[in-house]
């Protein structure tokens, strides 16, 4: 049962990923990316990462995809510009060959990884469990993250307001 679910989600995410990078229309790519993100959320759930499952759906599949789709519609690329966005198959082929070789090399390296220790404690990956670390040993990093988010918001507003 677990294996079937894993292979379905893995297939969805790989096919979605290929659609993202080969899609001619950015909107199709964005929707495929949403599919990949939802599939990965499912994999998080299979890895008993409850909090990550929720965050992935809310932040990634929710906020980031909506932001990307919003910008695509804002730019409103017409057919003429989309025509210029054709994939250059020469460049694509060379890159694909390099990536394939690197991918196979790494995959051979990870083949020896086995075991997924079965009994994790019942609260593994719940909000309480992660928060105990997040607000304990990782408190400083967490606060810095808040600062980065603030700077990001200010930067985005400044960038979007200027120019025109």
């Amino acid at each position: 049962m677990d294996a079937v679910l894993f292979w379905i989600l893995a297939g969805l995410s790989v096919v979605g990923g290929l659609v993202v990078i080969t899609g001619r229309n950015p909107l199709a790519s964005a929707l495929a990316l949403g599919l990949v993100l939802i599939a990965i959320a499912g994999l998080f759930a299979m890895l008993s990462a409850h909090l990550l499952f929720i965050l992935q759906l809310l932040v990634y599949a929710g906020a980031i995809i909506v932001l990307i789709v919003f910008v695509i519609m804002l730019l409103d690329l017409d057919d003429r510009r989309l025509g210029e966005m054709k994939i250059r198959w020469g460049r694509f082929g060379v890159s694909a060959a390099i990536c394939l070789v690197a991918c196979v090399a790494v995959l051979r390296g990870v083949r020896g990884l086995t075991g997924l220790r079965e009994p994790v404690h019942a609260s593994f990956g719940t909000v309480t469990d992660v928060s105990r670390l997040l607000f304990g040993p990782y408190l400083v990093q967490f606060e810095i993250l808040g600062l980065i988010l603030l700077v990001g918001i200010l930067g985005a507003v400044v960038l979007a307001k200027r120019g025109g």
């Binding site: 932001l67 910008v71 995959l107 990870v110 086995t114 992660v130």
Partner: protein, 102 residues
């Protein structure tokens, strides 16, 4: 089908990472390059979650939360820059963005 092990998750993560890398290397559309970067970040997240599950420690989940937050900031800033460039030059083609090269 057999049992799903750590190697399966890491293998999927590697494949997704290289699909994203291929997108970054080969596409000229800045929007699709940004989406490919999101794909690569997600592949790394999957590896973190899988290793956290394998060793029964939630530290990996904390790192994933950090990565998700950074990815959100990166998407917001990247898209803002893209909108700014589009407003000035009417293009999202990376080969046309050569202002620093002239």
């Amino acid at each position: 089908m057999g049992e799903v092990t750590l190697g399966h998750y890491i293998g999927l993560s590697v494949v997704l990472f290289f699909i994203g890398a291929l997108g970054v290397l080969s596409r000229k559309n800045a929007l699709i390059v940004l989406m490919s970067i999101e794909l690569m970040l997600n592949a790394a997240n999957l590896a973190f979650a899988a290793f956290a599950r394998r060793w029964g420690q939630v530290d990996g989940h904390v790192v994933v939360i950090f990565v998700i937050a950074i990815a959100a900031v990166e998407a917001a800033i990247g898209l803002a820059i893209l909108v700014g460039i589009f407003r000035n030059r009417q293009t999202v083609d990376l080969d046309d963005m050569t202002a620093l090269n002239e």
